[in-house]
Amino acid sequence: MIFQLILILIMIILAIAASLFKDLINAVVTCAGVSLITSILFYFLQAPDVAMAEAAIGAGLITAILIIAIKKTERYEK
């Protein structure tokens, strides 16, 4: 229970950090971190199907698609 509380606090801190970074690659990496912690929380809520889907799609494919889109546009936010 304490472990889940610490994970939730880390998740909210990562989400706030994603809005403050100026380098867009850093924001995408924190978005992947939020997806990873969400997948672990789904396991604690007794939902293994949804945890597998969130880990494969949220932490894998969304990160790749965002980095390809950053490569075709600009990297730094002004």
């Binding site: 909210i12 994603a18 969400t38 809520l45 939902a47 889109a69 546009t73 600009e74």
Partner: protein, 119 residues
């Protein structure tokens, strides 16, 4: 302390929705706005699954014969969230293709400089 343990999942979901809404309303870079939309969708998914959770029960898969049908969590929100995650990735891919096209036309990603979106 017991109060915190009972409501921490709702705090997580509400916190993610509010951070995502702040990013969509205040930030001016198009890719950051898309990351904010992703946060809102993740927050809603956590809310749906934490509504279906019952204390002391286990996952709804009868893999061995000694799991009682009265001992499992609610399976309907999990089926709905499975659909919602896949639709989230489809919407994000389409939105990113539109962003790439807008960048090729305007050479900037700033929302206040693209013609027609002035506040």
């Amino acid at each position: 302390m017991n109060f915190l343990f009972n409501w921490m999942y709702y705090f997580a979901s509400g916190g993610l929705i509010l951070v995502g809404l702040y990013i969509v309303l205040v930030k001016t870079n198009l890719i950051k706005i898309i990351i904010g939309i992703n946060f809102i969708e993740t927050g809603v998914n956590i809310l749906l699954i934490s509504i279906g959770y019952i204390k002391g029960r286990t996952a709804p898969i009868f893999s061995t014969t000694d799991i009682n049908p009265a001992d499992v969590v609610d399976p309907v929100p999990q089926a709905l969230v499975l659909t919602a995650i896949v639709i989230g990735v489809a919407v994000l891919a389409l939105a990113l293709s539109i962003v790439i096209r807008v960048y090729k036309h305007n050479k900037t990603l700033d929302v206040t400089k693209i013609k027609g979106l002035k506040w």
